[in-house]
Structure formats: structure tokens, C-alpha cells
């Protein structure tokens, strides 16, 4: 992609909503006022950014740990390339998988090409769920590993640098 598809007003809108949408009956009016544009323009710009995929979605971001899902495991799998387009969406559709991505292998240190983040209330629950992914992948998976979280070192939302 060459250049940025957004202008300075869009950037100001993004910055004005980075901390979240105001919890008031007319939140887009509040934001428009902060940016110095009409509410209609703020809404039109956000709608355009949604349609263009610049805004992924508008809504709630759950905090897994606070929801009691204190154990998270990054399960990683070396899945045959030809089987991945079929299997990836099936792993993503499992209701305990929160993130599921195809990423590059970096041999020899890193042979895995499928990542599935699994959340649960206990280590046993997470282990059982990872086992279910393994059964789904079956013989198309050559190798796998599970990386349990030990500590959160930093967690903030996506920020635009000033």
C-alpha cells in the first residue's frame, strides 16, 4: 500500500476515540466537538472508515483475565500448507479460540505456521481444549507446541504515535 488512505481530520478522529467512545447518549457529537467538525461529518467519516475496513469494528473489547479466563495458551501448529486453507477456519470457529492466524515459519527456530489462542479457567481446561485442536488437525499437523503465559509485561490499546 502506498501512502496513507486517511487525512488529518480522520487522524484527529482516531486520536479522539482511542481511549474509547464516550458513554453518553450522543457520543459521536462529543467526539465531533473535540475534533472541531459537525456531528454529521464525524459519523460520515467513521462510517466510511468502517466500510473501507480502516475501522475493524466498533464495540467492546473483553478482558479475558477479568472474565475469569485466567489461563491463556498460545497453541502453535505446523500444518501442511495445502491443508491450511481448509483447516484454519475450522480451528478459528472453535468457541474457545479467541485469535487464529496463519503466520510464517522461521526454521529452524520456529517451524509453526498456525497460531490459535486458547483461554480457560484452569490449566487442565486449556490443555483439554488444545487437545481438541490437535484432534481436529489430525494427520495434517506434523508438530505442535503450547506456550503458556507467565506474565503480562505490557498491555495497552493500539496507539498512534504523536
Amino acid at each position: 500500500m502506498s501512502g496513507s488512505p486517511i487525512d488529518d481530520t480522520d487522524r484527529r478522529l482516531i486520536r479522539a476515540t482511542q481511549a474509547g467512545l464516550p458513554l453518553v447518549p450522543r457520543p459521536y457529537h462529543t467526539i465531533a466537538e473535540a475534533v472541531g467538525i459537525a456531528p454529521e461529518e464525524a459519523m460520515a467519516r467513521l462510517t466510511a472508515m468502517l466500510e473501507a475496513g480502516l475501522v475493524r469494528r466498533i464495540g467492546a473489547v473483553p478482558n479475558h483475565t477479568a472474565l475469569g479466563l485466567t489461563f491463556n495458551a498460545m497453541s502453535v501448529w505446523d500444518v501442511a500448507d495445502e491443508a491450511l486453507p481448509g483447516l484454519g477456519p475450522r480451528v478459528g470457529a472453535l468457541d474457545f479460540v479467541s485469535h487464529c492466524y496463519h503466520r510464517p515459519r522461521r526454521p529452524p527456530a520456529w517451524p509453526y505456521n498456525l497460531f490459535a489462542m486458547v483461554h480457560g479457567r484452569s490449566r487442565a481446561e486449556v490443555t483439554e481444549k488444545v487437545g481438541a485442536i490437535g484432534r481436529l488437525l489430525g494427520g495434517d499437523c506434523r508438530d505442535s507446541d503450547v506456550l503458556l503465559s507467565r506474565r503480562t509485561l505490557k498491555k495497552t490499546g493500539l496507539r498512534l504515535a504523536d
Partner: protein, 148 residues
């Protein structure tokens, strides 16, 4: 703790929140709540930490920038110092210690694509450790479903 209405809100409002004059009113109607009750509950869920955020989620790689998952193998004795270096970059949103030889996992995000490689190079120079970059090639799913 969460009651069934909270769980319905969390499951229903991870996306699709309207852009409208009175968006909470519209979203509340679909959940058979009043506007005031939805705003109060969202406020409480944010205060108690059940939600880390409520609002638009921007797609860094479509904003002309991008983001990249990175992994590093850091000897335990150097972990705190390396974490301080990595966390010091505003472009690093998440950083986790994990149980693996590759024990530090972080995400670098920027609306300026040139910054991604620059941040990774600076982290390598400052820590003296190799950074493995693992950018997303394809997304199969992102979201969290809470048992209702």
C-alpha cells in the same frame, strides 16, 4: 460478578455498534434494555475491568501502517532490562512473558510501515538479541465468546 445481561452485552457488542445519533439507544433496543441501563452497565464493565475498552478498533495495516508479532529468546537474568527496553517503545502495545525458549512475545504496531522495521532493528541493537518477526499472513478468527 457478571450476570446474564452482562454476558449478553459482552457477546452481542464486540462489533456492530451503530454509528448513529443515539447509538446506545439503538443497541439497547436490540438487547431489550433501556439506553440508560446499557450505558450504566458498559460503564460498570469497564470500571471492573471486564472490558478493557469500548469503541472503534482501528486496523493498523489498513491505515497505511501495520503490526507484527515478534518473539525473542532472552536469558532470565536479562529479562527485566529487555522488557524495559521493549516496553519503552510507544509502538509496542502488548508484551508477554511465555514459557518457552522464545520467552518474550510482543506486538509492534504503527501507522507508519517504515517504523515497524526500524523499531525491530532498534530493539535488536539495544538488547543485543535477535527478534523473530512473525507477521500475520491470514486471519482466520478474532473475537471472544463468553458462555451465556
Amino acid at each position: 460478578m457478571l450476570d446474564p445481561v452482562d454476558r449478553r452485552i459482552i457477546n452481542a457488542l464486540q462489533g456492530g455498534f451503530p454509528v448513529a445519533e443515539r447509538p446506545y439507544l439503538d443497541a439497547a433496543a436490540a438487547l431489550q434494555l433501556s439506553e440508560g441501563e446499557l450505558i450504566d452497565r458498559l460503564s460498570r464493565l469497564l470500571d471492573m475491568g471486564a472490558l478493557s475498552r469500548f469503541g472503534p478498533m482501528f486496523n493498523a495495516d489498513r491505515l497505511g501502517g501495520g503490526y507484527c508479532l515478534c518473539a525473542m529468546a532472552v536469558p532470565p537474568a536479562e529479562l527485566e532490562a529487555a522488557a524495559a527496553i521493549v516496553n519503552g517503545f510507544v509502538e509496542v502495545a502488548h508484551n508477554y512473558e511465555r514459557q518457552h525458549a522464545l520467552n518474550m512475545w510482543f506486538v509492534v504496531a504503527s501507522d507508519d510501515p517504515a517504523r515497524l522495521d526500524a523499531v525491530i532493528a532498534e530493539i535488536e541493537a539495544m538488547t543485543g538479541r535477535e527478534v523473530l518477526s512473525l507477521p500475520k499472513l491470514e486471519e482466520f478468527y478474532v473475537g471472544l465468546r463468553v458462555e451465556a
